[in-house]
């Protein structure tokens, strides 16, 4: 969205390369910066920022909503991938272990699953059922939808970091094939969020969207 030239590279050991253990991270010259927050700061320090036009109260709201998305959507995605037995068995294990030979693929997948389950327990999501998780996602989408209203972006007419983050999550939810489609159904209930995703996809990813999957309204 800042119009900076980037190249996206997919690596299996991305998590280990990152300095903080989390993806995504960017590699610029001889610097490596990981996670969205620090990346935004880094880009801002170089003179590009999307949220300069916001006043203090709006910046506070933006940060709060970003945390909401991180808290709810990210955790729900992790839960669905690693704690829902059906999805884990059919999709996640196969996908996570695919770059490695047997038995490494099994071991690493189980290790990651154990790690994620521990984290879920620590934040209190360990005992949640799938329905409760979906309800939380619904609440989160409702909040985002109400905040977006009829505006093209969350804050006036210019996209900000919040728009980028929300787009990232919603796009992934809508376009990833899973054993059950309930998560994407929840998102599809909110038409303004769908329109928002479409708009950003068309605006910023036009050349790429021709080949890969785009949002299907079925």
């Amino acid at each position: 969205m800042c119009n900076l030239p980037i190249k996206v590279v997919c690596r299996a050991n991305a998590e280990y390369m990152s300095p903080s253990g989390k993806v995504p991270f960017i590699h610029v010259g001889n610097q490596v910066v990981s996670e969205l927050g620090p990346i935004v700061q880094f880009v801002k320090a170089k003179g590009h920022s999307l949220s300069d036009g916001l006043d203090e109260v709006q910046k506070a709201e933006m940060k709060a909503y970003m945390e909401l998305v991180n808290n709810m959507l990210l955790t729900a995605e992790l839960y669905l991938q690693w704690c829902d037995e059906a999805t884990v068995g059919e999709i996640t294990h196969a996908r996570y272990g695919s770059p490695y030979p047997w038995p490494l693929n099994r071991i690493l997948a189980y290790q990651k699953q154990w790690e994620v389950k521990r984290k879920m327990k620590a934040i209190g999501w360990g005992k949640k059922t799938l329905d409760q998780v979906l309800e939380d996602v619904d609440q989160c989408c409702q909040a985002l939808s109400q905040r977006l209203g009829t505006q093209p972006y969350f804050f006036n007419k210019q996209p900000t970091e919040l728009d980028a983050l929300v787009f990232g999550h919603l796009y992934t939810i809508l376009t990833t094939q899973l054993t059950n489609d309930e998560l994407s159904e929840k998102v599809k209930n909110y038409s303004n969020l769908l329109a928002f995703c479409r708009r950003i996809e068309q605006h910023y990813f036009e050349d790429r969207a021709k080949g890969s999957s785009s949002i299907r309204l079925s």
Binding site: S20, G21, K22, E56, V57, K59, A60, E61, K63, A64, Y65, E67, L68, N70, N71, M72, R118, K119, A122, I123, G124, Q139, C140, Q142, A143, L144, Q146, R147, G149
Partner: protein, 315 residues
């Protein structure tokens, strides 16, 4: 009619109505729910084994804070009734912000920071809890909190610990500044009536503000944000005036936990003396130093006493 709902929470200290991050009591006060509040300091006495816990009018026990708030809402005690949809969305967002940024630092300040933990937190919990629990329960709680913090913050490499700490505190300072900017000069976050967001924010801020911490870097920053300080004192005086009066000033605080533990202390003193006596008498009888004879009652107790003294010296 069903019995009124009962809320079990940690008792007060440090000038606060409750020592734990207990937004529930606050929330209930805001909504005027008829709650009977039991302030206890022994988590094993609560109906579910942990604090806080709510015993509803139908007898079931809920102990997860979010579920307690949902239950209160279902029973029609809802402070968010007058909020617009957008404000409801903002509430969710700000609560997430608090949980992500402020909660880890609060846990760190109270439970992980060595000075604070030893001088303030552990001291209070150890003094408040009854005899056998105060030896291991604070340590166990600390381990639980540490594990939680580590999992929340991801991989915890020892050489990066200081950097991680600095980052955490910076995030928290930013969060406090954001809250201050959002509050502005209003009385509560959404106008003139308190809502659940106010309950959450108050519970976090009050702990930070009121407690006298030996190493309080975040406290100093918070004290600089005057509108947040005024906000806290305002809520305390409005909704918890009797609790504020109940808790004695800091000078007398060492005395009141002492008077509370008097019965336990007396009991343990008596018990230990009795145990010592029984052990000595038993040893004396068994090793034959003292023998109980019916004849010559005048001399035997004398030799018995001497014998016991000798036995003690030998040991």
């Amino acid at each position: 009619m069903a019995a009124p709902m009962e809320l079990f929470c940690w008792s007060g200290g440090w000038g606060l109505p409750s020592v734990d991050l207990d937004s529930l009591a606050t929330y209930a006060r805001f909504t005027g729910a008829p709650l009977k509040v039991h302030k206890i300091s022994n988590p094993w006495r609560s109906p579910s084994g942990t604090l806080p816990a709510l015993r509803t009018s139908h007898g079931e026990v809920i102990s997860v804070p979010h579920k307690i708030i949902t239950h209160l809402r279902k029973e029609k005690f809802n402070a968010d009734y007058d909020l617009s949809a957008r404000q409801g969305a903002d509430t969710l967002a700000f609560v997430s912000l608090l949980e992500e940024k402020l909660l880890p630092v609060l846990i760190h300040t109270f439970w992980i920071d060595a000075k604070n933990y030893v001088e303030v937190t552990r001291k209070w919990y150890a003094e408040a809890m009854p005899f056998p629990l105060n030896f291991f329960l604070p340590g166990r709680m600390q381990r639980q909190h540490m594990e939680r913090l580590q999992l929340l913050c991801g991989e915890h490499r020892p050489e990066h610990e200081e950097e991680l700490e600095k980052e955490l505190y910076q995030d928290a300072r930013e969060c406090l500044t954001l809250l201050s900017q959002r509050l502005g000069s209003q009385k509560f976050f959404f106008g003139d009536a308190p809502a659940s967001l106010d309950a959450f924010v108050f519970s976090y801020l009050a702990l930070l503000l009121q407690v006298k911490l030996p190493s309080g870097k975040l406290q100093a920053h918070l004290r600089g944000l005057h509108n947040l300080c005024a906000y806290c004192t305002h809520i305390l005086s409005l909704y918890f005036p009797w609790d504020g009066a109940e808790v004695p000033p800091p000078r007398q605080t060492p005395v009141s936990p002492e008077t509370e533990e008097e019965p336990y202390r007396r009991r343990t003193q008596v018990l230990s003396v009795l145990a010592g006596l029984a052990a000595m008498v038993g040893y004396a009888l068994l090793s034959g130093i003292v023998s109980v004879q019916r004849a010559t009652p005048a001399r035997t107790p004398g030799t018995g006493a001497l014998g016991m003294a000798e036995g003690d010296e030998e040991e």
